[in-house]
């Protein structure tokens, strides 16, 4: 009984942590531009695929991972520079449509540059399941949780204590006032895209040994991450973390105790319920604000 519950919980938390990391990316970009970047899932894909192919090219894993994050970040920066930036004056809806276009482009490019098959990545440290009270978790699951925790703490420090982080917060509260105070909001937008794509890639690399990676892997992960960001309150990074865990655990518990047929439905019912009773998400304040 307990073992079963723990197993569902492990499953939910591991998956939820990935949703959370993807959701974080949505939140950060939303904060700086009010744009929902639907290409966020594609950064997840680029992270995983690039790592796999760099390792296939003979690079040692840590180097491949580092390089993959750099590649994804570069793609994120390029997306901002060449697609979002030129349309800066356009309405938010236009920008969102641009990101959707970018996501389709990136998926297609990945199929051409890499391939259309799915690939596995070796786990960071062994694949011997760790048993806790009858339930099992993979070492990779612990990596996911550990890295998510580290990233959350790192982001908090960044937003609270670094000048750039504070400037990003300021710009998200009031872009005009921030600009008047001498903050270069365009540079901040670039930084937020870089940050979000780097985070997405990290999520993609962490999950690849568990869930494999392929050119379309970002579609569903992106959607789930978006759900996480909505549940937690768009624009609130800590909310995205909570939202990701809520969605992930709800899915696992539904699959375990109700019926796996309703798994996705329940996740979306939760989103609807949250939006119905708390229109700004669990932790969002009107207008979507940062912590």
């Amino acid at each position: 009984m307990l073992a079963e519950f723990l197993q569902f919980l492990f499953s939910g938390v591991t998956v939820g942590a990935i949703y959370a990391l993807v959701g974080l990316g949505f939140s950060i970009i939303f904060n700086s531009s009010r744009v929902i970047n639907f290409a966020q899932g594609e950064f997840v894909m680029i992270g995983g695929m690039a790592t796999v192919f760099l390792m296939g090219g003979g690079l040692p894993m840590p180097l491949a991972i580092l390089l993959a994050i750099v590649i994804a970040t570069a793609v994120g920066i390029a997306l901002e520079r060449f697609a979002v930036e030129p349309a800066r004056g356009a309405s938010v809806v236009t920008l969102i449509i641009i990101t959707i276009g970018a996501s389709i482009f990136l998926r297609g490019a990945a199929q051409v540059i890499w391939d259309r098959n799915f690939h596995s990545m070796p786990p960071f440290t062994g694949d011997r399941p760790i048993e806790i009270a009858g339930a099992t978790i993979l070492p990779q699951g612990l990596w996911v949780l550990g890295c998510t925790l580290l990233i959350v703490v790192g982001l908090r420090v960044f937003f609270r204590h670094s000048l750039t982080g504070k400037a990003m917060l300021a710009a998200s509260y009031n872009p005009l006032a921030a600009q008047l105070a001498g903050i270069d909001t365009r540079r901040l937008l670039l930084i937020s895209f870089a940050l979000a794509s780097g985070l997405g890639a990290t999520a993609g690399i962490l999950i690849a040994p568990i869930a494999l990676t392929y050119a379309n892997v970002g579609v569903m992960l992106g959607l789930k991450g978006f759900s996480a960001a909505i549940v937690g309150g768009l624009g609130n990074p800590m909310g995205a973390i909570a939202g990701g865990l809520v969605v992930g655990i709800a899915e696992a518990m539904t699959a375990g105790y109700l019926s796996s047929a309703y798994k996705d439905a329940v996740a979306f019912v939760i989103i609807l319920a949250v939006l119905f009773f708390l229109p700004n998400g669990l932790f969002g304040r009107p207008g979507g604000e940062a912590p």
Binding site: S11, V15, R116, F118, P122, N216, V217, V219, M220, L221
Partner: protein, 482 residues
């Protein structure tokens, strides 16, 4: 007044259309008759890009490669083949548009294509109306069930796969099945067939779980299956990345019940993706995948081997059964055109229908002795043929099944052709015309002469006949009645 003029207009239009049809028909006939060096046009619409590109990509590559090869060898009936190809992706609407174009604009002689069940089903009405022979490369049985005049298909269906798997389970004494399926079209169809076939096969489904599209973790569902009372074996229906994830999660949970998957998992990608967790998984698949391990005398060794060499050396990519389906589709068509002596649509259609003991087959049911589905088990880094399923659509018994339609029907009615055989030898001795057992004769396995009489031509159900004759199985030795 207005009404009347409309009526007149309508009448004129009808007449005009009729005239046009006659003229076009005559012109078409004239062209076909006079200009013998005109290319024979083979149309295709495949999911070359998009989510189903793992199907369409090898299929198109295969078609291109062999059309070139046929042309280099002088074409068919002295006429070159011309491949007219469109990328319909996984989109039924695009498929309809492109098939319209193939039929009306490109005026193809026949169509080999349709990577997915969805795109195939969408165009069936069109090709039926246009009267163009159409060989589909998609999986689900619904494509040819009920039988359509112009529609054929090469791949074996999920129903066949499930049937074979149940046979193997039964032979191993496993009857309580934990069923697990994804949410794609193939997954659902396979799941439905498993539920339908189970009672007749003496199987009980004790757990029935599913997972969503793009799911990354299935431990919750597998935990439920693991804890289901009495469960003896796991059957997973699905394809793509989830197949590997299921294998990994199965291992993570320390599950030990025999693990079956379908031909949806029958690729090296499944094993590589599972990172060692696929060890011991059993699945039915075409012999093509294990061609290296077939005995030289195996009837499919030569053709399948040649295909593998040609494909891999040209594209530097590993083969899949999907490309094999395209190969079969193309050569069934080529052979039919040769036999028909022209590219006349009706004649070609009739010849395709007569296809029997198709000698070239690689991945589909039309092979010489029907021995295509092999039971594979993942071992180490490769798939190993550890048990084999014998003819499910074999030999001569098909032709009579229903005048003119045996070929396609047979492939989707495993319950008719199925004669399960399980034996531990990785390689089978050769056989021609009759299925063989590793040692000794197996009279029950011979195609029933004129076996078609056993089938009701309307419902295509098996009639109560002196049956059970074929229902023998053997294990390494002489056959025993079950």
């Amino acid at each position: 007044m207005i009404k009347r003029s409309i009526r007149v207009l309508r009448k004129t239009a009808t007449v005009a259309a009729a005239v046009a049809a006659v003229v076009v028909g005559a012109v078409g006939f004239g062209l076909g008759g006079v200009q013998a060096a005109e290319p024979i046009k083979i149309g295709t619409f495949l999911a070359v890009t998009g989510p189903a590109s793992f199907l369409g990509d090898p299929e198109l590559k295969t078609l291109e490669m062999y059309v070139e090869q046929v042309n280099a060898a002088g074409g068919v009936l002295g006429r070159p083949l011309e491949l007219v190809s469109y990328d319909a992706q996984h989109d039924a609407k695009k498929a309809v548009t492109f098939v319209k174009r193939l039929v009306e604009q490109d005026k193809v002689d026949l169509i080999v294509g349709g990577s997915t069940t969805g795109t195939t089903m969408a165009v069936i009405k069109l090709v039926e109306e246009a009267g163009v022979p159409f060989i589909s490369l998609a999986g689900a049985g619904v494509i040819v069930d009920p039988v359509k005049k112009w529609v054929f298909k090469t791949p074996h269906t999920d129903r066949v796969a499930v049937d074979k798997i149940f046979q193997d389970m039964k032979a191993r004494g496993l009857t309580k099945v934990g069923l697990f399926a994804g949410s794609g079209g193939f997954d659902k169809s396979c799941h439905k067939n498993a539920l339908e076939l189970a009672p007749g096969k003496g199987m009980t489904i004790v757990a029935d779980e599913s997972h969503g599209k793009g799911d990354t973790d299935m431990t919750a569902q597998l935990t439920k299956i693991k804890n289901a009372p009495g469960v003896q074996t796991l059957l997973y229906c699905g394809f793509g990345a989830p197949t590997s994830i299921v294998a990994k999660n199965y291992k993570q949970l320390g599950m030990t019940i025999p693990h079956y998957q379908t031909h949806g998992s029958a690729s090296m990608k499944f094993i590589q993706g599972a990172d060692g967790a696929a060890e011991g998984v059993r699945l039915p698949a075409a012999a093509l995948l294990v061609v290296d391990q077939l005995a030289d005398s195996h009837p499919q060794k030569q053709v399948a081997g040649a295909y593998k060499t040609a494909y891999e050396s040209r594209y530097n990519d590993s083969i899949s059964t999907f490309g094999g389906h395209a190969y079969d589709g193309l050569f069934i068509a080529v052979e039919a055109i040769k036999r028909a002596g022209s590219a006349d649509k009706e004649k070609v259609r009739a010849e395709i229908e007569k296809t029997n003991n198709f000698g070239e087959a690689i991945g589909s049911c039309s092979s010489r002795d029907g021995r295509l589905f092999r039971g594979l088990a993942a071992q180490g880094n490769r798939l190993k043929p550890t048990f084999c399923f014998l003819p499910h659509c074999g030999g001569g018994s098909r032709r009579g099944v229903r005048p003119g339609s045996g070929f396609r029907v047979a492939m989707d009615r495993p319950e008719r052709g199925a004669r399960g055989l399980v034996h531990p030898h990785p390689n089978l001795p050769p056989s021609r015309g009759k299925a063989s057992c590793p040692s000794g004769d197996c009279p029950g396995l011979r195609p029933r002469p004129g076996g078609g009489a056993a089938v009701d031509p309307v419902t295509l159900r098996r009639l109560p006949l002196p049956r059970r004759r074929g229902n023998k199985f053997c294990r390494g030795g002489p056959c025993r009645a079950r």
